[in-house]
Structure formats: C-alpha cells, structure tokens
Amino acid sequence: MSMADPKLTVGPEDVMVIPEVYSNVMEQTKNLPCVRIGLLQSVDYMINSLIPGTDWSSFGIRDVITTSQTLREWFETFYGKGKFNIKTYNVGIPDYFEKSSAPQKPVISVIGRNANEISKLVKLFFSKYPQYNWVTFDPMLTKSKPPQAMRRVDFAKRLQGNFAAVWVDRIASFGTFPLECMKSGVIPICLKPDIMPDYLLERDENGNIIKVVEGAGVWTENYYDLPVLAGEILIKFLDDSILPALYDSMEAVASKYTQEASENNLIEIYSEIINQRAKPLEGALVPPTAPDAQAPVVQ
C-alpha cells in the first residue's frame, strides 16, 4: 500500500485478519476478494461493536480465530454451531515473565478494569486488617508523574518482585494477567470473570470439561472475598507457610502457555489458511484489482 495513495488493493491470495472491535472494517471490506478472518479475543468488544440481530456472517465472514476453547464454545452458543469455521490457539506468555531469584516483597499488585472496585477492595482490606496497614498495593504503573502504563517487559520485572496480585476483571474473555502471575511465581487472587478462563478447566480428549483445575492461584466468585483472601495469603507469606504445592500447580498451569507453543500454534493456523486460499494460475496475469477492492480508508 502506497503511503502517498493509501488505497488498499487486495486479491484472492491476500488474507485480512480483523479484530472483533472493528466491525466497521468488517462491513467496509465485505466486498473485497481476499480471505477475511474475524479475530475474537474479547467478547465485550465484539458484542459492543455489533448492532442487534447481526453477527459476523452479516459481513461475509465465516472464518474465526479465537484464543480459547471456552471462547469458541461461547461463540457457538450465541452465533450458531457449524456456521463458522473456528480455529483456536493458546495465548503465549513471554519468557521474561519469570520467577525472581531475589525474595519477594510484601507488596500486592492490583489490576482491574474498574478503578472503583480496586479502591473499594483496598479500603476493605485495611479495614479488616488494620495491623497490616503498612502493606502496599501496587497499581503496576510507572513512578512518573502522572503515572503511566509500563512496557510489558518492565511490567514483568515489577510483577515478579511482589508476592501476590489481586485481579478483578469481570468481562475478561481469557485472563492473561493471572497466567503472567503464575509464570512469575506470584499468587493470583482473582474474582472469577463471567467467562471462566480456559486454563482453569480440565478437559478430556473430546474437549469436555471434567473438572476445575486446583491450585492455579486463589479464585472466588464473590468480590467481597478478595480482601479477606488477600489478608489470608499475606499472613501465610509472612509466616512462611505457603505450601510449595501451590507454586508447583501454578507453574504447571503456566507451562502450557509458552510463547513458543503459541507461535507454533499460530503458524499452523495461518499456514492452513494460506494453503487454502485461492491461488493465481501460474504464468497467468494477475487480474487487476476489482473496483470494490478499493476500500475506504480504514479508520
């Protein structure tokens, strides 16, 4: 695509992957001759960008890539089983999320989508445990003024030094942060989101859920349990009575989500897509791009 003349020209040999939040792009590109794939990572972003009664098939999209079996099942429940060709891959956690060689600090990382929920649970923690009023809750932002989000590699470095992390994200569709914690040897204390993270579910060879994984941190369905659980884990940390089995379980769960496995998984998916797309005949002139292919500039 030329920067001077930013018109998108695509042919049948091209593949366009469109994240769920860009339903407008799905609509704008529906007449393009290329292969178009919807990428589903967030249920909320997807639903928010669709008008009632539509789905991605309204834009001619039949191929979907998503990040977990749970999301696949959710998608099929609401948009029809067999209607879409769905592929799933495992999210990979980069290797720089690793255990610290230095002892961890009595600091609790706290991550959430809703600032009010975070503030409330911190206040409740200090009300219930006034003797621990010296404990710091780390919002995982830079120390600059104003605080900013950190680069992911810096985030990983900060995270590994804290002994636990509270996570409240009701609308998370996958839940990467608890996995980052598990890989870093940080105990995640989490409110179960509306969609159960895939790594908490153990499945048989047919994909049926057989049980909930134990020891992948501390999970609750009740928001008001979080400050209490944070206090209980803190006491165990100070008393040095956290069982090694908890760290072993966390490591076992996180080990299934390596970056290498994720990349291999994606290569497999994209190779399959690329191999299946329409190929121009060898020696034949590639036809000029169809008029419709001159899509509006993508916003």
Binding site: S101, P103, K105, Q131, W134, V135, T136, L238, D240
Partner: protein, 277 residues
C-alpha cells in the same frame, strides 16, 4: 549459614530455664539448614554453675544436634547490662554474622533458612532486621515490629521500601534489633552498643549505623517471637519505673549521641533541670 546466636543471660531460675530451653529449641528445630549456628551464651560470673548445668542439659536433650563444641560460654566479670553483655559476646563470635536471641524469645522454624536466602540476595546489607511478633505472657500477639519500613509512606518518596533510613527512624523509633542478622565487622566498626544509653540504645545504634552509611533492611517474614511483657525483663523495668520525661530524655539523647562514635558519658543534669515557662 555463617552465623552465631548470642544469648545474653543476666538472671537464672528454674522458671527462666524453661524459657531458655524454648529459646534453644527454636534454634535446634530450624528447618532446612545444613548446620546449626554456634551458640554463644554470655552471663555474669556468678551464674557460671547454672549456665554450665543448663548447657549440659541442652546437650543431653538435643544430643543428635548439639555438642559441647556448639556452645561458646562467655563469662562476664564486668558490666552486666544488656548492651555490655552483647558487646562482650561479639568479641567471641568467629562467624561473619551474629544474631541476638533474648533468652525468653524464640525464632520461627524457618528463620535461618530465610536469613540465608536474604543474606545471599542482599550481600551489601549490614543489618537484617526481622519482623517480630510481640506477645504477652499468655502468648497472645500484641503487635508486629520492624514492619513499617515496608510502607512507602513511612520510608518517604525518596526512600526504598524495606530499607530503614535515618529520617524515617527519627520519626518513628520503635525498631528492635533482637533476632536481627548483623554483620559482625560493621557492628564493631561503628562501636557496638553504647552502655551509657538507657532505654533507647537500640534506636541509637540504628541511627548511628545509618549515619555511618550502614544498610539496614527488614526481612518481610515473621521470624522472631518476642515476649514483651515478662515481669522483671529489662523493658518491663523501664516501663514500670521510668517516668515519661526520662523516656523522652533518653530518646532525645540517643538522637544526639548517634552523631558520635564513642560511648560518651551522658550529662543527666538536663533531665533534672526544672524548666520555668
């Protein structure tokens, strides 16, 4: 770990020997340590017979862990104040680090495992305070001590969590060195405890250490149980007999004396001077 445990003993009775036995047990029953620390018992000369008897009893009780060689007995023929006893015992320490275990206190069972981990991770630290739980005689927790350095508000915007700094220490003086892992060389370099300072001698030592660029860190594990209210203990005596103005005097004096390396004679006249407004 290359460490000795100093146990200062200034009195002895059958009742106290039970507490001393628990203190020794807390050392003997440490988890995941290759070698137990050397035990340095320091005591007034008049108690020698009792202490030898106590040591022999410990060897019989913990024969698989303790032998005579594990004990260093330091007979004190001079000043038997807490500070003087510790200073004297440090002279007999042959390890890089030492820790003072008060005879009515106990280490947690993972204390030395953790201490080794922190010493390895932070070799530049001179004094590792430990979080301690202070209990009453019914073994009920009263408070945590040495934990406040983990509050960012306490160490200040420029301070680092976990590290004690002089400014913060002057604002809040209640830090205790019992159970701390102390580098022997630094303890001696800055002159040890001052016997002329009453009540606030640990505060004075810490402030002097910080004034001399020592690094002091609080291990965030509850590694020590301190019996705070024992009848007849040193601080119980201060609590019961020392008036508030004298306590204030000692903390103010300690703040000033921390600027001096030597154990200067304290001018007590200021304490007794009537202030007329």
């Amino acid at each position: 770990m290359n460490i000795s445990v100093i146990i200062p003993i200034h009195e002895y009775s059958d009742e106290l020997s039970l507490l001393m036995d628990k203190a020794i047990e807390s050392v003997v029953k440490q988890e995941s340590v290759d070698e137990l620390p050397q035990l340095v018992l320091v005591y007034p000369a008049v108690l020698e017979e009792n202490i030898i008897g106590f040591r022999d009893g410990c060897i019989r009780k913990y024969q698989d862990k303790l032998s005579e060689a594990k004990f260093t007995l330091v007979k004190n023929e001079g000043d038997v104040s807490y500070q003087a006893q510790v200073n004297l015992a440090v002279e007999s320490v042959t390890t890089e680090y030492f820790s003072v275990l008060e005879f009515d206190d106990e280490y947690s069972i993972t204390y030395f495992k953790n201490a080794a981990k922190y010493v390895e991770s932070y070799p530049e630290i001179d004094v590792f305070l430990t979080m301690m739980i202070e209990v009453n005689e019914q073994n009920q927790g009263i408070k945590l001590t040495n934990e406040t350095v983990w509050a960012q508000q306490f160490v200040g915007e420029n301070g680092e969590m976990g590290y004690l700094n002089a400014q913060a220490l002057k604002q809040y003086t209640d830090f205790k060195l019992s159970g701390a892992v102390i580098k022997k060389s630094e303890f001696k370099n800055i002159g040890g405890y001052k016997t002329n300072i009453k009540l606030a001698f640990m505060y004075e030592f810490l402030l002097r250490a910080l004034n001399n660029a020592c690094k002091i860190f609080s291990m965030p594990k509850i590694g020590y149980k301190h019996l705070a209210t024992r009848e007849g203990s040193l601080f119980d005596g201060y609590l019961k007999t020392m008036p508030m103005n004298e306590r204030k005097f000692w903390f103010e004096t300690a703040t000033n004396e921390a600027n001096f390396m030597n154990d200067r004679t304290i001018d007590m006249s200021r304490l007794h001077k009537q202030v007329v407004s």
